[in-house]
Structure formats: C-alpha cells, structure tokens
C-alpha cells in the first residue's frame, strides 16, 4: 500500500542531468528481475505517443509508483493527476539540450530518485520520457546509448522502470534503431533484436533475430555495452535468440577479441554451435542452453 509522504529531497533541481549524483543502491530487488520494464517507444505520430504515455502514467499510478513524465515539446499532456505521485518535467525547465549525458552520473541520479520514491512510500519509480533532444548529435547519441544500457541493469536490480521515447521522424530510423536495440523491448523501431544487460557487468541478454538487416547495428550495440571480463569470459544469454547469422557471430568475435575476452554464447539453438564451428571463432564459445 502506498503511503505518500513529503520527500526530504524536494526542492532540488529536477532535471536529470542536473540532479545531484549521489550513489544510492540501498534498496534492491530480492533477485534481478527477468524483465525490468525498460522499453523503447519510437514514434512519428505525436498523438499516438501522448496516448501511450498517458496509459503508462495511469498504469504506474495504479501500481502505486511515483512517475516522472518528460513530455515531448509539442505534447498535449494536460489533465494529469497532480500531487506527489506525478511530476511533469519540461525540457525547457530542466535540460541544456546540447548536453552529453554522463552515464554513471545519470544512473546515480535515478538511483536517488528511486530511493526518494521508496522513502516516500511508493512501490517504485517509473519514468516516461521523450528524450529526443538528448540524442541529436552523434556524440550525444553514443553517450546516451551507453547510458541506456547501464540504466537497464539498475532497473533489473531496483524497482525502477522506464519508457524512453524517440521521435523517429526527427532523428531518423538508424539513430533510433541504435538506441532501441539496447532496451528490453522496442516499439516501431525497426530492430529485429534486443541486447540488454544481464544481472552483472559480465552478462548480457540477446534476444530476437540477427541477420543482414542487423549487420553493423549489432557491432555498434556491443561497443556500447559495459560488458566486462569475469575470469576472462563474458556471457551472452541467448536463450531468447531465434536466429543469428555468420555476420553477427563474426561481430561478436571481433568485439570479444578487441576486449581480450571470450564471449560465451548460451543458446538452445544447435545450429548456432554448428555455424560457430564452421567459422573457427577463437573468442566465441557456444554453449547449449535449455
């Protein structure tokens, strides 16, 4: 049950790039959530996104969560519930839109906001944000993509979830695809696979299908992970993988080689092991998963 109370942190700057960056990892899920609720929403029709955002806000409120809603510049978001549960943040108030996000600082800021919400008696913290203005340049997009990946891991361990919206008409399909594939799920982003974090920095989760259409998108996505060596190996949990072609396996090989590690690909697909065997990949090992 929700027991709203006044937050001791109220009144500080609310833009997430401007929030204080204290580390706050005290409240964790009992075990990492298989799906934390980190989704990407690619849109061209403002009205459709506004309607979806509204539904997400309503769902979060019904679940007893605190919501931060960062609407699009042209969004019509009047009539949202007031009070402590929903905070509407306008870009003009909160961001310098030429800002390049600092992934670690941003995760820390959301960790603090999640703690705030829990301390105030909410069941969790949900962000619904159109972040189009933060990924307009290549530099911004690269940093934000790295942030999208690492905040996904925070969400697996803590009661935070997010809908990250991108205006496809403004950013272009390729730019949105680069960001979309690093979420747990994506809507209308034209990506056939999702690469998102596992429970630790030595694990990633790979789902969907990788073929010619994903050719360099996958290599770019791998570079934006924070996959780190643990005993010289990183694990790619591919239990939800439906197909991977030789180009994607070669991309994984090149990534693992560049990191001086071995990528262990766990998949129930026997064809993947046979394909990897044909390619002689010294930095990729395929293991059977159920």
């Amino acid at each position: 049950m929700r027991r709203p109370r006044k937050s001791s942190r109220r009144g500080r700057p609310i833009g997430w790039l401007l929030l204080r960056g204290e580390q706050c990892h005290g409240v964790r899920r009992m075990r990492p959530a298989p799906k934390a609720g980190h989704e990407c929403w690619s849109y061209e029709d403002q009205g459709l996104f506004d309607a979806y955002a509204r539904r997400c806000v309503d769902q979060a409120l019904a679940a007893g969560e605190r919501v931060w809603f960062v609407p699009s510049q042209h969004a019509d978001v009047t009539g949202l519930p007031g009070g402590d549960a929903v905070r509407v943040i306008r870009f003009a108030e909160a961001y310098a839109t030429h800002e390049v996000v600092d992934p670690a600082r941003q995760v820390a800021a959301y960790a603090a906001a999640t703690e705030d919400a829990l301390a105030a008696g909410f069941t969790g913290f949900r962000v619904v944000a159109d972040v189009t203005p933060l990924v307009r340049t290549d530099e911004q997009r690269d940093a934000f993509a790295r942030y999208e990946y690492v905040i996904g891991r925070y969400m697996r361990h803590h009661p935070m979830s997010a809908v990250c919206a991108y205006n496809r008409g403004e950013l272009g399909e390729r730019a949105v695809a680069e960001l979309a594939c690093l979420h747990e799920s994506s809507h209308a982003a034209g990506v056939s696979f999702q690469l998102h974090p596992g429970a630790t920095s030595a694990e990633a989760v790979l789902e969907g299908e990788l073929d010619l259409s994903a050719e360099d998108l996958f290599a770019t996505a791998l570079r934006r992970t924070d996959l780190d060596r643990a005993d010289g190996e990183v694990v790619v949990d591919a239990t939800g993988l439906r197909f991977i072609d030789h180009r994607a396996l070669l991309a994984l090989q090149r990534y693992a080689e560049s990191q001086r590690t071995t990528a262990v690909l766990r998949t129930p697909l026997g064809a993947v092991a046979r394909l990897a065997g044909l390619l002689d990949l010294p930095h990729v090992r395929v293991e059977a998963a159920r």
Binding site: S192, E209, L212, H246
Partner: protein
Amino acid sequence: MTRTGAAAGYHGYYHEAVCYDSDDDLLAVAVPFLLGGVTAGEPTIVALGERAAGVVRAALPGDVPVTFMSGGAMYARPAGAIRAYRKLLAGHVAAGAPQIRIIGELTAEVFGPAWDSWARYESAINHAYDEFPLWSMCAYDMRTAPVQVREDVLRTHPRTAMPDGRHVPNETYVDPVTFLSDRRPPVPDPLQRAAPRADIAEPTLGDARQAVRDADDGRLDPDDVDDLVVAVSEAVANAYRHGRAPVRLRLWSSADRIVVTVTDGGSGPKDPFAGLLPTGDGLEGGLGLWIAHQSCDHVAMYRDAGGFTIRLAAG
C-alpha cells in the same frame, strides 16, 4: 623429403581416377598405391565405401599402417568434404609429411540427382587441394556408374590410374574454372512437380526463415530444419546483396522433405568456386553461399532464363 611414386617431382595435387570393373582391377591399383605410401613413410589413407574397403583391407598385410576412414561420413556434403579434407591435409603437412596418399570413393548413392554437385566437387578439388602435396585416387565402380557419371569423372580428373600400372592423361579433362562455370539446371526435384506451398516475392530474411519453419510438421530431424533455416536465410541475403531484383522464394514440402528455391534476376556469382570454398574473411561477404553449402545436404546453383537460382533441400 621428396614425393614418391607417380607424383614424384610433381608440385601440388596429383588427382587420379580409378575406373574399375572388378575387384581385381581395384586391388591392382590400390594395393601398390597404399603399400608404396607405407614404405615411403607417407600418411596413407583409405576412404572407400564399406564394400570396397573390406576388399582392400583383406588384401593388405594385417599390420600395415594404413588409416581406414569412413567414406560415408567424409562424403556427406561436397563443401563439408572439402573443408574436412583441407583440415586433414593441413595437419599432415604441418607434421612434416612430404606427401599424403588417399584412395577414396563416391558410391552409387550419389549417382542419382545429387551427382551434379559431386561432379562439381571433383572438379573444384583440383584447385581446393592444390596447395597440398596430395596424391589421391578416386575410385568409381563402373558396374554401377551411369554414363553421365563416367563422362564427368573423365572431365574432372586429369588422369586415370590403370590396373597395369600406367597413369594415363584423360583427354576430355577440363580445368575447374571451365567446368564449374557451366551452371546447367539440375534434374527437377520430384516435389517441384506440384505447386509450391509458398511463393513469396521480395521476401524479407525473416519471411524466408519463417516459411521454412512453417513447412516443418515435426517429422524432419530438428537439426536438419534448423540448418535449412540457416542455408535459406543466407541464400536470400546473398540474392539481395549480390543479385538483382526481383528476388523470389518458392518452397515445396512433403511429409519428410523440404525443397526451397531462391531466384534473383542476376547471373549468379562470378567466382566458379562460390559455395564450395569460402571467399574472403566474411567482412566483405563471400561466406554466405559457403555456409549455405555447409548447412544443407543438397544444394544446386544454376542459371536459366529467369536468372540465377539456388536450390536447397533437406530430408
């Protein structure tokens, strides 16, 4: 360390046919060939069919160090055989072998609709094994070989080893680039007589994979279906990447077989060895058709008025 026997002084792959009409003729060629290799200390290998291997084994001294390999396992798929043999040969060369001797056999099971792909194998290996000091004899039982097989054997082997000990050049031999550039349509698969189960214009790769999965009603080996999915996906990717519009996929299926054709409007790969040997390092393409050939037992590639077609079959 020099090469011995008929291949003494030869550089590269010394490729011979053995066309035998009787077991005596086979033994007249095989036994001196094998014992000569053993005497010279060369790796000496038999990859004959079960029956012929038994005949040869019985004719050799019991303790002779000849390696008998299962010909059936070695010759499951042409591109797979090339890969396996190249690995085997590279290992022997790395270990210091001055020459490797192999007598192998393609048996009557491949003399049917699959023969065309094996004829292409026999031609391609003149190039694919030429970096190794290999002397091989490819035995064919003339009592079971159809006319087309006999003709192709002579066109793909530079010479024939005779029972009387001679090594005779084959007058009809053609170099592999010429032989492989002839991409004639294969014998239609019986399943292709009926209307296709799926006929998709401009399929996405995902559409193509799903069409194969949908055609499987659980009676094919799941590994064969998964490998066919890989092969078809690569074939369609190849059509879009290297072929011309329009791209079309057709699929036929029965209870225990699936046949897929992928056609594009182009003229097919210029490289006559495409599919049988990997080309490039995968960064610029060149692996797709090779993987399709490695993942599928029955592959045919041909040109006709409609363009270039790759046919893949499982079961």
